[in-house]
Amino acid sequence: VDVLVQIVASGLTLGAMYAVSTVGLALVYGSLNMLNMSHGALLALGGYVCFYVMTALGLPAIAGVAAAMIICGLAGLAIYHIAARPMLPSRNFETQIFIATIGIGTVLENFILRVFGPQPVAQPLNLKGALVIGGVHIPNQNILIMAVAVAMMVAIAFLLNRTRTGRAIRATAQNRDAAQLMGIRIGRVYAKVLALSGALAALSGIMISSLSGLLPNMGGDPMLKAFVICVVAGLGNVFGAVSAAFVLGLLEAIIQYLLGVQYSFAILLLIVIAVLIWRPYGLFGKQQVVRL
């Protein structure tokens, strides 16, 4: 039983972390058809801003988190204005924005590398102590991560389902032209979505770095995992992405226990490849009828 509790606890923590970074990506893809390859760099940026505010400026944790979310939100806004907006009318938007955000991500990541150096540093935002269930220790940090993730999910669900902005985002995602004809300023919707996704990236970057430490290239792996989750769920499907994040988190914890850490990502990706061949539009994605 102890082993089971341990696996479930670490699986849920992983799932919670993945869910927060995945939601941002799924929102952006859902409304703009844009794969944001600079998401990983935004994760790292958020982690480092929080680190800087808490250690160099000596401010409390809440200020660090807020500063990270604001700065990454602004970075998301900048990505919209620099890259996404000029390219939106283009026919190959999906391909071009993919390439452009790879470039932006590289610039951002190397900028962080120049400023903070290549040595790993510890994230100061870290709870001590642990909760003991039976013979299992669950660090308070993990519980905090799960709590924040659940709160975030509730907030996003509220935003999408109960507010005017949320309705505008959903309308734009469903049909860009129709939304525009109904008087929605889709430019503003895009800007908001990218800013929101940046802020979510900061939050998940802080969470990830509180467990594994800060490195300029720390965002690469979580970003690839987040993409994989989006793809499994069906790109742009926010609620599918959350459930897929938890399923894959649990699966990863089980694989890590049974086969060892080094194979977990490889096996995860193999499962995903199999899923994609079986259901090319993702598990929760609607089958798009493409006759050609």
């Binding site: 794969l35 283009s90 390439i99 990502f265 994609l276 050609l292």
Partner: protein
């Protein structure tokens, strides 16, 4: 003169002109950098066939390159196969890998293909790096099946080192040039030939093209397989040129560098990738002075070109010509 004939003539002329370089300068650095340029250009001309001509957003090209390099090294290391035979065999291995990847992405579209191919490349990388079990145990230490983090070295060469002594790199220069010429001729044949026409038809009017019996799946699989041959061969040349093959061939930085070449030069054109490769190799050389800022410069170039000049340098020339014609 048809466009295809013009391109073929241009290809021979460029090859002949480049062949004179070692006669003009004997500087080893320039010659080996140009050999590296031939290797990267081979990869990008073939990648361009998938990315620009067929419009499949595959990021697996570095994995195919790695497949060619690894197959060469492993054939030489484990079976002592002479490099002259190992290189074409490695190219065929890359074709096989590519067809399998192609089958996996056939039903996917756009960004799904990009993510799936990126994931496949990452899986291969992780399997290579995380494998720590000894496959053989030579005196130099434990050797995993795929070489692990250290990779392979001392798997043989083309024999020019013993034949020409210290001048072996000039021979590799000509081998690279000859391969690049073949690869370029091959890409001209694809772009100007039936396969290119098929993709153009599928792009311009998919409904009409398919009702005329042009099968998208069939041609996609063909382009995946064919473009892998010279990519794998480029990987094999990389292996014998440097004498070392390690997991670094999978690096994202290289992928970014090569993608920038295609974007800067112009996707889907015959000469764009070659032009882009030349420009970026020179820019890279120029940025060597500023060392650490090199990757930032590369990223900025990529963003600037996609945003401001999405058709690349080749597109610039074409739009000017068509603008003049329009007058």
């Amino acid at each position: 003169v048809t466009v295809a004939k013009r391109d073929i003539f241009l290809c021979f002329a460029l090859t002949a002109a480049t062949a004179l370089v070692p006669l003009v300068t004997g500087t080893r650095y320039i010659i080996t950098q140009m050999t590296l340029f031939f290797i990267w250009t081979m990869v990008v001309t073939q990648w361009n066939l998938v990315l620009g001509v067929a419009g499949i957003f595959s990021l697996a090209q570095m994995a195919l390159f790695a497949a060619g390099a690894y197959a060469t090294a492993m054939l030489g290391y484990y079976f002592a196969v002479p490099m002259i035979l190992a290189m074409p065999a490695a190219a065929l291995a890359a074709v096989f890998v590519s067809v399998v990847i192609g089958l996996a992405c056939l039903r996917l579209r756009g960004p799904y293909v990009a993510l799936l191919t990126l994931a496949i490349a990452q899986v291969i990388y992780l399997i290579v790096v995380n494998d720590t079990e000894c496959f053989t145990n030579p005196p130099s230490g434990c050797m995993p099946l795929f070489g692990g983090v250290r990779g392979f070295s001392r798997f043989g060469d083309l024999g020019f080192r013993s034949l020409l002594g210290s001048k072996w790199y000039i021979a590799h220069f000509y081998v690279g040039l000859a391969m690049l010429m073949l690869a370029t001729l091959f890409s001209i044949a694809i772009i100007r030939g039936p396969l290119g026409l098929a993709f153009q038809a599928l792009r311009d009017n998919p409904g009409y093209a398919m009702s005329r019996g042009i099968s998208k799946f069939k041609y996609q699989l063909w382009v995946f397989g064919l473009s892998a041959f010279f990519t794998g061969l480029a990987g094999a040349l990389y292996a014998v040129q440097f004498g070392v093959v390690g997991p670094i061939v999978f690096s994202l930085a290289t992928l970014l560098f090569l993608l920038s070449m295609i974007v800067v030069g112009g996707m889907g054109t015959v000469w764009g990738p070659l032009l882009g490769a030349a420009v970026l190799m020179l820019a890279d050389e120029g940025m060597r002075e500023i060392g650490d800022w090199r990757d930032i410069g590369l990223g900025l170039i990529l963003v600037l070109f996609v945003v401001l000049l999405p058709k690349g340098l080749a597109g610039l020339r074409l739009t000017q010509v068509s603008a003049k014609r329009g007058e």
